[in-house]
């Protein structure tokens, strides 16, 4: 048996039954990385000392009595990959950028501290679009990641390395971050499950900020249940992030949790099935909806009238927050420092020009313009008002339905290099995902099938704010009627 093909739950069970050791499990994944990652390039940095951490975990299991074994945390001994914009103490954190190429994190992000407390084994840091800006991982300063289903295609982005690591059986699960679709879109392209929690459900402390009012850390995994185990491990209040919700604010009990799909009210946003949607993607999504209907769900069309304004609002709000957040990269306190600059101004301007890639500069420029004197009302304030209209659209839809379901992306993974020259075309890859971030809602992408050439297709489920547990519950029911597992 190839233990890298196990789900998180199966791996955890195998460890507890001593069917294999933590060293076996971690070793098999490090071997898989050594074998495949030369081509896939999912990792920027592999932690070779994970083998030592695995040996210590094995000693703990060897000396444990049955009660101790039962008390082991769910992630004990589970090998996990971490996106390179999440800080792990003493390790590199480049965020995919040359400006942080030699930066070492001086503390653990809250999510990392929680993973370590459970005894999870971190395998390494995964590739990403620079500072999480992009939809293909091609904007990484360290070269693109390839899609494990077809190495001539992108894995999606910005958490493309995390998605490829899970799909390529080089990690049991992974952490990513999602600002406009950066967990869900690569999950869809790579045929894995990716979940974007409610804004604030997971602490952002130790996440290198892109757009602070939208960023959230979440899991990528092989099944919905696996993603939920990780979500439960990382969520909760944090003194270092004032926007983080207490665990208790996310209801774990709900009247509908007792029922399966019978009488579940499913809303299908008609705006997510318009022009530009690939025929195979539409077919796969409609097939799932039909299966859910056969299982007793009530499917009805809903409307999100401002859906077409989500991308324009997003591309004002995000660059504005980016231009403020990335101002701290000044070449002075950490990161790339321009040589032979004469004045402090030159240190700033040259370090930033040399350190940042084109997409990052593009967004800093756009955001600086949108926030500059005379333009603030026309762009930033207007976008914030439209953001409210978009959030209200969802609130109205959720008065009638329990969940919204549609495609995660308009089309399956596109070929490497095909959208590099046109930033607007790249932005369109996120057309169905950005509105969810603007509204702060939880959402999940799961495999719905594949097209004729075997490229995975993603199904997106969107739930009301703080109903993350309900989202997982419904996604598990959907998983049962889909009956498709992606193989890479």
């Amino acid at each position: 048996m190839d233990i890298t093909s196990l789900t998180l739950s199966a791996a955890a069970k195998g460890l507890r039954e001593r069917a294999f050791s933590v060293s076996d499990l971690v070793g098999a994944h490090l071997d898989a990385i050594a074998q495949k990652d030369g081509v896939l390039h999912a990792y920027l940095h592999v932690f070779d000392d994970a083998r030592e951490a695995a040996r210590s975990a094995d000693i703990r299991i060897a000396t444990a009595n049955p009660l101790d074994i039962e008390a082991l945390p769910p992630l004990f001994g589970v090998p996990i990959a971490v996106k390179d914009n999440i800080l792990v103490e003493g390790r590199q954190a480049t965020a995919g950028s040359k400006i942080l190429e030699h930066y070492t994190a001086s503390y653990d992000a809250t999510v990392i501290r929680k993973l370590k407390e459970q005894g999870a084994i971190i395998l390494g840091k995964t590739n990403m679009d620079e500072f999480a800006m992009g939809s293909s991982t091609e904007y990484s300063a360290f070269g693109p990641t390839k899609n494990p289903h077809d190495v001539t295609r992108v894995p999606g982005g910005s958490s493309g390395g995390s998605a490829a690591a899970v799909a390529g059986r080089m990690a049991i699960a992974a952490l990513g971050s999602d600002t406009g679709g950066s967990i869900r879109q690569p999950a869809a392209f790579c045929g894995v499950v990716g979940m974007k929690p409610t804004y604030g459900a997971v602490s952002r402390h130790g996440l290198i900020a892109m757009a602070s009012s939208l960023d959230v850390i979440g899991p990528l995994a092989k099944t919905v249940g696996d993603a939920e185990i990780i979500f439960d491990a990382i969520r909760g209040k944090d003194a270092f992030d004032a926007t983080a919700y207490d665990e208790t604010e996310i209801p774990v009990k709900h009247s509908m949790f007792d029922k399966k799909l019978k009488n579940l009210r499913v809303g299908v946003p008609k705006e997510y099935f318009g022009a530009g949607l690939d025929a195979d993607v539409e077919k796969a999504v409609r097939r799932v909806l039909q299966n859910m209907e056969h299982a007793g769900a009530r499917i009805e069309e809903v409307t999100l009238p401002h859906a077409h304004l989500a991308l324009p609002a997003y591309y004002i709000i995000v660059p504005s927050e980016v231009s403020a957040n990335l101002a701290r990269l000044d070449g002075q306190r950490y990161g790339h420092h321009a040589k032979d600059a004469d004045t402090l101004y030159d240190v700033y301007a040259r370090s930033r020009d040399e350190g940042f890639g084109t997409e990052v500069k593009r967004r800093i420029m756009l955001g600086t313009y949108a926030l500059s004197a005379g333009y603030y009302d026309a762009y930033y304030l207007k976008a914030q008002k439209v953001r409210r209209l978009i959030a209200d659209d969802f609130n109205r839809a959720f008065e009638r339905v329990d969940i919204l379901i549609g495609p995660t992306t308009p089309a399956p993974a596109f070929p490497l290099g095909s959208r590099n020259d046109n930033p607007l075309e790249m932005y369109l890859a996120d057309i169905y995902t950005v509105a969810v971030n603007l509204a702060g809602l939880p959402a999940l992408s799961m495999p719905a099938g594949a097209n004729a050439t075997g490229l995975p297709i993603g199904l997106q489920l969107i739930a009301p704010r703080l109903e993350d547990k309900k989202l997982f519950h419904i996604a598990k029911q959907a998983e049962a009627v889909i009956g498709y597992t992606a193989k890479a």
């Binding site: 004032a242 324009p312 240190v347 008002k385 930033p423």
Partner: protein, 97 residues
């Protein structure tokens, strides 16, 4: 919509020493993106309250004190990341030329 002079002014505000080639590129690209976001004007936002953040939480308070011993004693790690330093301080270039 965006002139080369605009690009140079924004680059100055953003502290980016762009090359001439980058300046030319951004004239076209920023104009195209701003043209795309013009769509926002289709929305009637009369009387709509701007949504300024992602959370519904308000007035989150905490004690103004060191609350986590794990983050203490990081002085050296923080300083080790500084490119130019002297006697435990961050060294900066002269501000006026």
């Amino acid at each position: 919509m965006i002139s080369k002079k605009d690009v140079q002014h924004i680059a100055h505000l953003a502290r980016l020493a762009l090359t001439a080639e980058e300046e030319d590129r951004f004239v076209g690209e920023l104009s195209a993106i701003l043209g795309f976001v013009e769509k926002l004007n289709e929305a009637d936002t009369e009387g709509v309250m701007p949504m300024t953040g992602g959370t519904m939480l308000a007035h989150v308070m905490r004690e103004d004190a060191v609350s986590d011993p794990v983050l203490e004693g990081k002085h050296e790690q923080l300083l080790s990341a500084v490119p130019e330093k002297k006697d435990g301080w961050v060294k900066v270039k002269k501000i006026f030329s």
